[in-house]
């Protein structure tokens, strides 16, 4: 297990370098004039250009720029935006909101998804099964931004049940509907995954043995079937947390949540390159680590899986 973890951690290094270099190259290397439009209608003053060139090492070849940036990144310095704000301050303000939103979304999708999956998986073919199957299909087909726009319009503007624009320091309750929207796609996948996995385990030998031993149905389902069937679901949830922490740009845009997605989108619109590269680097690390943890967790949950 220790050697496996080490090997996986080492494998993360080239992936991290490659991803951040691609993004660095795209935002810094491909723009012919980094100061275009930075100073309104006029050209930027020589002193401003000189200061920014020095701050971002623009005189160096791209690869040297990148290495210098990487060096300061590894010491925890995310750099500054063009206007001089520390990027780390921006991230520290925005990231808790995104994490909160991701956790709300995962909680909602886990509860509803697993409940729907168990309901249909235990019952087998029938009306409820078909109903859930069709609803998961519809959920998969509904783009997140359409669900978001419709719910914001109906619940927020017409019925007035929620605020169409989420305030600066949102509570869990205010993030409920955005979380529901964000998690709607994965909810469908979880329901299907739970159902398939339950149906598979229903005929497994250990379930037959448990029934033959005379255990009450409640215990057979709750302990023997669910625990084994939920292993793939739990791993899916883990991947999803990693993905949602970096993928909430659309939901945050629709509900005007001031999280990391909005920050990176504004950064790109205003061509604030330092913000963009910094956030992408952070999100890539979060994503890769989340995947690693899930893979390790897999072995803990299921003793049949051994890495080594």
């Amino acid at each position: 297990m220790g050697r496996y973890t080490l090997r996986r951690l080492l494998q993360l290094v080239p992936v991290f370098l490659g991803t951040t270099f691609i993004v660095y190259f795209l935002v810094w290397g491909l723009s012919d004039d980094p100061f275009a439009g930075k100073c309104g209608q006029r050209a930027c003053s020589a002193s401003y250009v000189a200061e920014m060139t020095q701050r971002y090492n623009l005189d160096d070849p791209l690869i040297v720029q990148y290495l210098k940036y990487l060096g300061s990144l590894l010491t925890g310095d995310f750099g500054q935006t063009f206007s001089g704000t520390e990027v780390s301050t921006l991230i520290a303000n925005a990231y808790p909101i995104t994490i909160k939103l991701a956790l709300v979304a995962v909680a909602i999708e886990a509860v509803i998804g697993i409940a729907a999956g168990v309901l249909t998986g235990l019952r087998g073919r029938g009306f409820v099964d078909n109903l859930v199957l069709v609803s998961t299909l519809v959920l998969i087909a509904l783009p997140v931004f359409v669900t978001g726009l419709v719910l914001r319009q109906v619940l927020g503007v017409e019925l007035g049940w929620i605020r169409p624009s989420v305030p600066n320091n949102p509570t869990i309750g205010q993030l409920f509907i955005p979380g529901l929207v964000l998690g709607s796609l994965s909810m469908a996948y979880i329901a299907r995954l739970t159902r398939t996995s339950l149906v598979e385990n229903k005929r497994a030998d250990f379930v037959r043995t448990a029934v033959a031993k005379g255990l009450p149905r409640r215990r057979v389902v709750g302990v023997h079937m669910l625990r084994n069937s939920l292993i793939p679901v739990v791993t899916f949830l883990g991947y999803d947390i990693g993905a949602l922490m970096g993928g909430a740009i659309l939901t945050e845009g629709v509900f005007n949540i001031r999280g990391i997605g909005g920050l990176v989108f504004r950064g790109i619109q205003q061509q604030d390159t330092a913000t963009v590269v910094g956030i992408v680097a952070l999100l890539v690390i979060v994503f890769l680590l989340a995947n690693l943890i899930v893979d390790l967790l897999y072995a803990v949950l299921d003793p049949r899986i051994r890495y080594d």
Binding site: P143, I249, L250, G253, V276
Partner: protein, 312 residues
């Protein structure tokens, strides 16, 4: 634009050949086709896809109104016999725009899933068949691209090549969106193909072919490819729907297709500011989009059930 259901076509085309090659009554393809024919889901989604294709190829069958003709005095008009879905903020006919929006959307979906499958399948075949260092190299490269979250990567790539608000031509923007989707999605197809190729390489028939002196090219094209194609084609069908949604999401953010192009994502993007006043300009393109994605996801579902032997 003619090949909407690659898996189904391929199934039909490959059927006789496979039947000859295998001694049993039917090969995987014939078997899968027989299964597929019995699923109502397959027929419903195929019918929807045929209608969508007609819309994309011959929009004049459905409407004779110019989708770009704007009449500001009719801005936001309610549905009426004159324009059955009503009019948008610019006074354009929403029905005509929704019909004409099918072509760019489906083009992006088709080209993106073709590109993803071709790039991913070739990379996966090489990685799975050669193994060793080329497998390691390709897998690491794929991990780099898979490490970029989709929307984030799409925003970075598309805004690098087009400044926000820049006006670009129709062909250029469609090409850019397709390439962006391919660049960010090929690792998925590559993984599926690699796993299938690794499995196939270990099979006795491949060893037998090798013992008979077949070269690597012959082994790959005659033995491995036909036996690994099914999972990738199933993936392509489902991804077709997913990519239609992805195109709409990028257009919604204002970085994908844009104004001179009429697509459902563009329409939704334009509608979002005025949802309260002109709800029909959001509702109709969204409904078309959902139905289109649904059709392809349902088809993919049915095809997977039929062609994935493990699912039976």
């Amino acid at each position: 634009m003619t090949d909407a259901a690659p898996a189904v076509r391929a199934a039909g085309a490959a059927e006789p050949e496979e039947v000859e090659g295998v001694e049993a009554v039917g090969g995987l393809w014939a078997d899968g086709w027989a299964q597929l024919r019995r699923r109502p889901l397959f027929w419903v989604s195929s019918a929807l896809i045929v209608v969508l294709l007609l819309m994309a190829l011959f929009p004049s069958l459905f409407t004779s109104v110019d989708p770009r003709a704007a009449d500001l005095s009719l801005s936001g008009a309610d549905p009426s016999p004159d324009a059955i879905f009503g009019r948008d903020l610019q006074g354009r006919d929403i029905y005509a725009r929704a019909i004409h929006g099918a072509a760019p959307t489906l083009t992006v979906g088709l080209l993106a899933s073709l590109g993803t499958v071709v790039v991913g399948a070739i990379a996966g075949l090489v990685a799975g068949f050669r193994s060793g260092w080329s497998d390691g190299l390709i897998s690491r490269i794929a991990e780099i691209f898979a490490g970029l979250p989709f929307i984030l990567g799409g925003i970075v790539i598309l805004t690098t090549f087009n400044r926000p608000g820049q006006i670009v031509g129709e062909v250029r923007i469609v090409t850019q969106v397709v390439l962006t989707i391919v660049v960010l999605s090929w690792p998925l197809a590559m993984r599926i193909m690699r796993a299938a190729a690794l499995e196939a390489t270990q099979q006795d028939y491949v060893k037998a072919a090798r013992a008979l002196g077949a070269g690597p090219w012959r082994i790959v094209t005659r033995h491995i490819l036909p036996n690994t194609l099914a999972p990738v084609l199933v993936f392509a069908t489902i991804q077709f729907g997913v990519f239609i949604g992805a195109e709409a999401a990028l257009s919604f953010l204002g970085i994908g297709l844009r104004d001179p192009v009429v697509s459902w994502g563009v329409m939704i993007s334009e509608a979002q500011e005025r949802v309260a006043d002109i709800p029909q300009s959001l509702f109709f393109p969204a409904a078309f989009l959902v139905v289109a994605v649904l059709a392809f996801v349902m088809l993919g579902d049915a095809v997977r059930d039929a062609f994935d032997p493990r699912g039976r």
